[in-house]
């Protein structure tokens, strides 16, 4: 554990950082040392303190004690301005964008460009669009409102905002790929490597250990607010041509090592055995179109089955999920739950028909952030904890919440915590907990493991398998292809608004699935992003 700025070539040294919140010691003398021109991984379970140390660096939280050096200069008072001036940039885990700003305004927020006649709107728009297209590989009109973008596109806007002024020296990515598809992740990795090669240091927080071993030079593991170890991952080297030559061939060995440090035990089977004995059809989607984002989607899910739905940004996957849950209008097509056709008008109708959703955007759609864990767990099923007339039985509600909190290992294990103050992964567990004990027939899970740590992820997979074994049909929309292969029985692949392939997952190779999502494996369908 490095505790001092002993080396002269450190981009960042954070030493002995402590931070307590009421009831939680989020950081307990934690250290983080990032060398120059290094991609430094930061991993740890949900609630380990990763986001907290990053927010301390960002000047958002004031540490109780500890010291911070940026480029070998000790910073006495960390404020958002002082770290920004020193070229530290953040891509925070949560999307901090204004819904009713457009893309240009968001990219240039607080760094607007002045022209001779006031704001140089055109110039900013061109720059923003160019940056997004050339550097991040996304064609987005600079006038689009943030609220009309997909979550993945919003992430790219957030990245553009951090990098567009070209002054970055140290860039911190807090779980950037959680919402991105495989192809976009590759583009992003290319960019991160380029940044590093141009002399910028990177801190990279992720729950995807394969990503960590793929691009990081070193990784620091956090557990309960302490850095338990920093491991070398075999130097990546830059050869003469500027291409990266990875030295780490033993990725999975390293991953197992990291997992052990993170959770204090080994996780052997990430994915439960498939025990699908599909019965009757519980979800039948026939010819669904919304006329804009997807057309003619037809598929079915049977009881006991876990069906994956995947596709890159712009494939229409998100819109399709929203429509199935009645959140988006459809122009054509029908949907039936357990043989009964339902009108796609509102989530309330979907729920009463027995179709429930775990939404991808948990902070906006999944949780009432200012309510307690107990209230969030019960909010969809209040009848279960009330008298016939609607008298709210608080004790019963608290008991039910406590049980679920226990079952899903939500930390802290207190159902009266306000959900806003839970770490990302724990928030996700709360959303999942909500539907677990309902007897819903179809579970639509949209990115259910986004931001969830390995340990909890394997627990969630086990729960999903249990749901299916208990006779529910599960539709799991995900951009994590390894997860799709691991847990689903079948997978539907969307490209440009159409379901272009349906495959059994047993025997399907990851490469093959990647090729399907990019459309390159298909005749007659043009490749989308590369």
């Amino acid at each position: 554990m490095a505790t001092t700025a002993d080396s002269n070539s450190n981009a960042l040294v954070m030493s002995d950082i402590s931070k307590a919140f009421p009831g939680v010691q989020a950081l307990d003398n934690a250290n983080l040392v990032v060398a120059d021109r290094e991609i430094h991984g930061l991993v740890g379970e949900n609630g380990a303190g990763k986001s907290t140390i990053i927010k301390v660096l960002a000047g958002i939280y004031e540490a109780d004690h500890g010291s911070v050096w940026v480029a070998n200069e000790q910073l006495e008072q960390l404020t958002p301005q002082s770290v920004h001036e020193r070229g530290v940039r953040f891509i925070h885990q949560e999307l901090s964008l204004v819904p009713y700003f457009n893309v240009t305004e968001s990219v240039f927020m607080a760094q607007e460009k002045q022209g001779v006649f006031g704001l140089a709107t055109r110039k900013m728009r061109r720059q923003a669009e160019d940056f997004l297209a050339n550097i991040l590989g996304a064609e987005i009109d600079g006038r689009t409102l943030i609220r009309d973008l997909t979550v993945a596109q919003q992430k790219l806007v957030q990245i553009a905002r951090a990098l567009i002024d070209g002054q970055a020296r140290l860039v911190v990515f807090d779980e950037p790929t959680a919402v991105l598809g495989a192809a976009d992740i590759n583009t992003l990795f290319g960019n991160i490597r380029e940044l590093r090669n141009s002399g910028i240091s990177i801190v990279y927080v992720s729950h995807y250990l394969s990503e960590i071993t793929e691009i990081c030079n070193r990784v620091t593991v956090f557990r309960n607010g302490v850095d338990v170890d920093t491991i070398h991952l075999g130097e990546e080297q830059v050869n003469g041509a500027g291409n990266v030559v990875s030295g780490a061939a033993n990725g999975s060995v390293r991953q197992a090592e990291i997992i052990k440090l993170m959770v204090g035990r080994e996780i052997t089977d990430m994915y439960p055995e498939s025990q699908a004995t599909p019965a009757n059809t519980v979800l039948e989607v026939d010819g669904l179109s919304d006329g804009i984002r997807f057309v003619d989607a037809s598929f079915s899910v049977r009881a006991g089955e876990i069906v994956g739905l995947t596709g890159i940004i712009g494939s229409g996957r998100e819109a399709l999920v929203d429509s199935i849950y009645g959140q988006r209008r459809v122009s054509k097509g029908t949907l039936a739950v357990a043989g009964k056709p339902i009108k796609l008008r509102s989530p309330a109708q979907a729920v009463s028909a027995g179709l429930v959703l775990v939404p991808r955007d948990r902070r906006n759609d999944g949780l009432v952030l200012d309510m307690s864990v107990a209230d969030n767990v019960n909010v969809a099923t209040l009848e279960m904890v009330s008298s016939k007339l609607g008298w709210h039985r608080r004790q019963q509600a608290a008991q039910r919440a406590d049980q679920l909190v226990e079952q899903l290992d939500v930390r802290p294990r207190r159902s009266d915590t306000i959900v806003r103050f839970l770490s990302g992964g724990n928030q996700q567990k709360v959303v999942l907990a909500r539907w677990l004990t309902t007897d819903s027939k179809v579970f639509v899970l949209d990115q259910p493991t986004t931001g969830v740590d390995v340990g909890a992820r394997s627990e969630i997979y086990a729960l999903v398998a249990q749901l299916a074994a208990g006779g529910a049909g599960v539709l799991m929309s995900s951009n994590d292809l390894a997860e799709v292969l691991g847990i689903c029985d079948r997978v539907l692949v969307m490209v440009r608004g159409r379901i272009v392939a349906e495959r059994e997952t047993s025997g399907l190779a990851l490469d093959e699935l990647v090729a399907l999502t990019t459309g390159s494996a298909l005749e007659g369908v043009e490749g989308v992003a590369s």
Binding site: K55, Y325, M371, I418
Partner: protein
């Protein structure tokens, strides 16, 4: 939690009660009449109309909206109840029902604008406010009073009578208060309304029928306010057009004073009651002291700003900035 943080938290939650008590003691020392039982009963009785209006407002604000037309519901409820008795010989208990239904109709009009047409609650209820005011002026030849001297005693006693030695007005206020407490704080419907107010998108995804709840919220709020109008006409034996307006700002103030006392700054029934009693006490006290009644508005303003500043300062405490993820 540091000592300072604790102090601030305490102040923001209970500080208002301290202010309340301070004023109470101040008035008690300044005026002999203030502490008389009959005066205290007067305060309770005199603020029933404000209380029911403010309770309706609490419901609306909890669901994330605002109702600027609450005065219209008060006016229409009382007005049409006496019109029913005067011009159509409707029995007085039935006239009460008529009044409440008319109030509910005002709310339904709001709901129609808000839920169906998608107008924001502020603009929709502002529209209702203007339309409702205009209708009253048209049908009362420019705002003339509508007296009703031969009012049935049953109706009149809503405001002037007693039951078991307790003034009926206070009883009515207590019943409405109880109903709202159960509805908003102890029933699952209240939970849902709070969820909708805090985060409508999440409430919708959880399967709550947000439109239906918003619809009901405005209807119930206006129907409740109309009870205030009925009491008002019963007490005065006449209908004074546009009189309901005077309750609007006080009702809003009471709701937000109450919300500032809640740990999460949420509108709540108990807080609203405290807010109403405070406003009632201050005007009564100033009155007894022979001070200019107009001071009351200034005081109310100061207290409101003070209470909300305290509540907000609590959010700025260390460790509560931003949010984790």
């Amino acid at each position: 939690m540091s000592g300072r943080a604790f102090g601030l938290t305490f102040l923001s939650r209970y500080g208002f009660l301290v202010v309340f008590l301070g004023f109470f003691i101040f008035f008690a020392t300044q005026s002999d009449a203030f502490l008389n039982t009959s005066n205290l009963v007067n305060i309770l009785e005199g603020n029933t109309i404000l209380l029911v209006a403010a309770l309706g407002m609490t419901l609306v604000v909890a669901s994330g909206g605002i109702d600027l037309s609450i005065g219209i519901a008060i006016d229409f409820g009382g007005w049409l109840a006496i019109v029913a008795m005067m011009d159509h010989d409707v029995a007085w208990p039935l006239a009460i029902v008529v009044g409440v239904i008319v109030g509910a109709a005002v709310g339904a009009f709001n709901s129609f604008l808000i839920v169906w047409l998608g107008v924001s609650p502020f603009l929709a209820t502002l529209g209702t406010f203007f339309i409702g005011g205009s209708i009253q002026q048209i049908y009362t030849s420019g705002g003339g009073q509508v007296p009703f001297r031969q009012m049935p005693t049953g109706y009149q006693e809503l405001a002037t009578g007693e039951t078991w030695g307790i003034p009926n007005e206070i009883l009515i206020g207590a019943v409405v208060l109880f109903v709202f407490y159960v509805l908003l704080e102890r029933s699952i419907y209240g939970k849902r309304i709070h969820a909708i107010g805090l985060q409508p998108s999440a409430a919708a995804v959880a399967g709550i029928n947000v439109r239906a709840y918003l619809w009901m919220t405005f209807v119930v709020a206006s129907a409740t306010a109309s009870v205030g109008g009925i009491i008002s006409t019963a007490g005065l034996r006449q209908f004074t057009p546009l009189a309901g307006f005077s309750y609007l700002l006080d009702a809003i103030a009471a709701v937000f004073i109450g919300a500032s006392m809640h740990p999460q700054q949420r509108p709540n029934v108990g807080g609203t009651l405290v807010g109403v009693l405070f406003l009632g006490m201050v005007s009564n006290g100033l009155n007894l002291m022979g001070l200019d009644f107009n001071f009351r508005d200034a005081l109310e303003g100061l207290v409101l700003v003070g209470a909300i500043a305290l509540a907000v300062s609590q959010r700025r405490l260390p460790g509560r900035v931003g949010s984790p993820a």
